[in-house]
Amino acid sequence: MRLAASAAVALAIAVTACAPSTTPRTGGGKVTLSVWGWGPEANYDKMFAEYEKANPGVDVDARSFTTATEYDTILSTGLAGDNGPDLAWLRAGANLQPLVEAGRLLPLDAKDVPGLADYDEKVLRYAKGDKDGKVYGVPFAVQTLQVIYNKKIFADNGITPPKTYDEMISSAEKLKAKGIIPFAFGGKDDWMLPVVASIFGTARWGGDAFIASVKAKQKKFADPRFVAGIDQLNKLKPYFPENAAGVSYTDAQILFSSGKAAMFPGGLWELNFFGENAKGVELGVFTPPVPEGQGLMPGFTDGSYGINVKTKHKAEALKFAAWLASKNYGQLFTDTLRVFSAVPGVTPKDPLLGEVSTTFEQHGATYFMNEFAYGNPSSAAVFSKALQEMLLGRLTAEQAAEQLDKSVSTWL
């Protein structure tokens, strides 16, 4: 009997312990909004505390699932059931569509979330349903792709960020002669290949205009300009680490942070990583020039905040979403996380970010691969593999581009 009684008590405790996720109100009549995401939790607690200060009736509970690949499964399961979050980080573009088509998300409009009206269409497009054209999320970050360099190594070797393509090659030659790896790049993790190809090649194939004509089926990727763009990976091979195709992404990061390599072609998110893991290294950024002249800086919308269609606190969630689309949040986001906020008109305090921001405004372009991430197998996966084979010398740049055309033709 006593055992049964204590079991009952234990069960009651367990049920109460679970309660916050199932019952709407916690002590003091507060509404708890749960938010799921994949970034570090501490940063979000810090930012959301500002909202809680201004809105005493609301408690925002951020929960992070750091394993990025599992996040999609966790979220789609959570949203399908009754214990999902009120708000969640959503993937951008193609990977958002399964949730939209399953009807898991609340469509948003400028009536409820006024900030949405000011977003650049280029940014907002990634938070839309492909079929219905409705907005399903408040975009939070824009990532740019460029070359990050070690200022000290540059100064020690009398090098400045290159203004012309030839200058970039001669600088790389100079570094190589000194035993320093010019570009820390590894092609073993194949998602890095289109990233790096776009850093060096976007201006060569003519950026957004070219992508638009491929989408309109007026041009193909086998176009000589695109082929010349991705062929940059072959051209720069002497300045990559030896056996670049076997070097992993983390190896490349370590080569740069340990000072064995002078430059790292990669995403803006690396600034945060190198800031933490290469404390002594002073960082600079530049957009590599192309033989034709000025280079282009590719960028993409990273993700957005969406609202669970089943949320029990629709009004509160929408109000919170409106805050997430405001300049206040944008500023907080960019200064806390050291990445670009997707909110228009936010100027980052960080000088390096400010520099990137200026370049992106003047010479920004769309990261081509995210536009072609559809199909099963996705064209992005097919092309990443083709680029890997190109780097290994098993395919020519033209053959790699043809494989992309072939894959894109299955869904475009």
Binding site: Q97, P98, G246, S248, P377
Partner: protein, 299 residues
Amino acid sequence: MALGVRRGQGRNRSSYVFLIPAFLLYSAFVVYPLFTGLTYSFFTWKGTLRDSFAGLDNYAGLLSGAFLDQLLPALGHNALLFAGTMLVQNTLGLAFALALSRVRRGKRALQTMFALPYLVNPLVIGYLWTLLLSPAFGPVNALLKPLGLAMPWLGDPGTALPTVVVITTWQWVGFPMLLFSAALGGIPQEYAEAARTDGAGSWQVLRRITLPLLRPAMATVTILSFIGSMGTFALVYALGGSNGAPAGATDVLGLLFYRTAFASGDVNALGTSSALAVFMFTFIFGSTLLLERVLRRKA
């Protein structure tokens, strides 16, 4: 007599009652998921929302050009892994078992040492080996460089799969070794002694007596290796990521399933991946049955 029979039947009936808990658990956690997986594969999906009945469309999708271009190489790599495992891991396992059967002192300690790596999670092992084999920092290449043998072991499509076989062997060799050791222990000493008395040498004893008597153990090892090689995921994932880097050289069915189900972003990912899962299950189950028939008949 009649009473006895009835009593026996009663005991039988009550023994079924005792099977119920296990049967329920088995049904809930094995039969039911397998069955739902099968039903999922006959529908199109919108994310996690079931859409319309698709008949065999998802299966047709598996055989479509773009998907088949991935499926066949992946299946081929599974088969190569199986061949490699048989050739390297199980041969070595047998050799170790034979060598250990002659060891008098410290046999247990040696057995434990050989079997130790398989207590470690394959993901951890994969991660450790990527560090060891890293072309930029790895100690393996640092040692091989003076000999002119430094290679991007996991970065070259030609060496990647053999490297996977070597690492698999390093991890699992203790398993066939233990099975063979146990089987060797079950062979009476008298057979070998009798043969020696008749003038047989060590090689003849091994070939004519020991190996034929190890056949049942070999059949077991072969079947378990087959299932292991076909279902491999964690190690290749840790070594080459979900795309089976480099250039798909280490792509296997498990990775293909993972990509299709969780990483494609395709709206109908659940339908396609369920069809793939059913195909994998049927293929592995069917081949195992066939293999078992063939091996047992010979044994």
